[in-house]
Symmetry: C2
């Protein structure tokens, strides 16, 4: 099939303050340097670059974030930066990106959708999975990627898988259902079973299949998709924006994947992490001999299991404290006990009331 038209659509939009105080409304996670000296967005590009040539990489986000992304991804042609008229979750992003790619490269192009704010330890395994995903998509499948669950994570979505389509590696299985964030007991069952994989929010399809299936399975949205095509090609941004407003502001998993008659799951064990909080950095960054993660200028005596982020251009010194998270963002300092990362949002809520300028 159209192997020469393998494209990557990096979703660089999305806001969030889970990594507050480093992440802010106008500087979301994908623009932070958490794992390497590069931003997560640059990491995402670098991971896929060996598979996809730069001119076939597309980046979708609201214009404000695109302008922030642009200097980080100079290799990507400017014309491949797809401006979302508004932040409306991943379904509208996927529609816009897929239409744009189909317009530019033809409907037989394959679209690989990748988030811009995740971490992957084993990039080789990751790319092997992507390669299998491209291949399956080229054959007409709608594909997602399921990451072998390493722990009963209640913050992730899961994909229930059925029979094998390809033995692999990487194995490709029938997808049965998407499961939203489970409770602890359910998550334990999922991890114990081979049939539940983490939903990494990555997808692949041929543009023509995406459009066909939308027409078949999601007809009310397809009407809008069809109307979008002309204005998008003509650059009529006011018209595009008006239509974009009418696309359902939901995730592509829910809007599309769950509606199509069949989807496939490429299974991978690539050390994927969505870095939902600073706590997650333990899993993706090397620890010192006492299990501490230290980024930036950190001076520590004693103390084990701390995660310290000196990102304010000033040193952080500590001694004697264990399992603390200390983040200096330059204009505010946050301290909390490791494992409580979910509660950062509560501090953010407090700050929204007290110091909205810092959120």
């Amino acid at each position: 099939m159209a192997r020469e038209k393998r494209t990557a659509l990096i979703l660089a939009g999305g806001r969030g303050t889970r990594l507050w105080p480093l992440s802010r409304r106008d500087r979301p996670k994908q623009f932070l340097s958490l794992v390497t000296d590069r931003t997560l967005l640059e990491d995402a590009y670098a991971r896929v670059a060996p598979l996809v040539e730069a001119s076939y990489v597309y980046v979708a986000a609201e214009e404000e974030l695109l302008l922030r992304a642009r200097p980080l991804l100079r290799q990507v042609p400017l014309v491949n930066f797809v401006a979302e008229p508004a932040a409306r979750n991943t379904w509208p992003s996927c529609v816009l990106g897929t239409l744009e790619i189909a317009h530019r490269l033809g409907r037989e192009a394959t679209v690989l959708v990748l988030p811009a704010d995740h971490a992957v330890r084993d990039e080789e395994a990751f790319r092997e999975a992507l390669d299998a995903g491209y291949r399956r998509a080229e054959e007409g499948a709608v594909v997602t990627f399921g990451i072998k669950a390493e722990r009963p994570e209640t913050g992730y979505g899961y994909i229930k898988c059925g029979e094998a389509v390809e033995a692999g590696p990487p194995a490709v299985r029938r997808g049965l259902a998407f499961k939203e964030k489970p409770d602890e007991a359910t998550a334990r069952q999922y991890v114990a079973s081979d049939d539940y994989l983490w939903n990494g929010g990555m997808f692949a399809w041929r543009a023509d299949r995406f459009l066909e299936l939308t027409r078949e399975c999601y007809p009310n949205q397809f009407k809008i998709v069809r109307q979008l095509k002309g204005p998008l090609a003509a650059g009529e941004s006011a018209r595009v924006a008006a239509l974009y407003e009418r696309l359902e502001a939901t995730s592509v998993d829910y809007a599309f994947m769950e509606k199509v008659p069949a989807f496939e799951v490429v299974e991978t064990d690539c050390g994927w992490d969505d870095i939902g909080s600073f706590d997650a950095l333990e899993r993706v960054l090397p620890r010192d001999g006492r299990g501490n993660i230290r980024r930036g200028e950190v001076y520590q005596l004693e103390g084990v299991g701390n995660i310290v982020f000196a990102a304010g251009g000033r040193p952080v010194a500590l001694f004697g404290v264990d399992n603390n998270v200390v983040v200096d963002a330059g204009d505010v300092v946050l301290v909390y006990p490791k494992g409580a990362g979910q509660d950062v949002r509560r501090v953010v809520e407090l700050m929204e009331e007290e110091r909205a300028d810092l959120v």
Copy 2:
């Protein structure tokens, strides 16, 4: 006696980094605002001001620190700022200050020596003790002040007391000996006994008695003291500096109080604290409902017993951590477990190697 010549000699010298990262080599503790919005030096002045008119207050320190002190104590005549040619502990400071006061006001003036970096909760009780000290000094006694020991503090010096000279309150007792920082067991014995009081480093004497007793009990130093008189009066600073170098660089307790035939101790229970570390702030600052001390812009959810100092002009946010000390000095952040304040010096040693500019 010469009640109209009651003077206060505030010792504003001394360096130290026990309160690092707020205190630095060139910004020692007395120049920090730890207890009130004023610096400890200003607090020290304000505490004694109701007893001593401003023109009778003297401030002794190395010139560099005097220049820092000057804008804080505009009420005190500039001529009362006594420049120490070098930092040589409290004995030389007391010699210089007492000679200066004797020269200016006459040898019958009473000198009350006060450190500039302590905290006092009950200022009324404190001033009652000072008043008694002045009175005893005016009658010829060499006086120190003993603070009722509240806990078996091993970081303080103690004064062993004997029979009562005045029943009080405030009681005045014979002083028997100075005891340096005791071990834990000894400190417990001291606290259990009524005969051991904390040495607050405060003293009072009539200038003439100080000089007589120095001549009698410390003759080799008296030779230098006598030679200092003329050059000091004449402002011959090179000559003063040369003689100052020959004064023993030791504490006035050790050099003088322990040598005189008798000294008296005014007993007080004034909530005195030398604020040896941030941990001490619990004793002198109001706590919130959960036992937290918060200075500056601090946002906290949950967590008990923390001491948080946002002194960097930026907020500090925390949640879920207990009994932590968090200090933001603006150019560096320090985190340690409450109670480990003695170990801050070890971090300072590390920083001296790694970032001497921050010490």
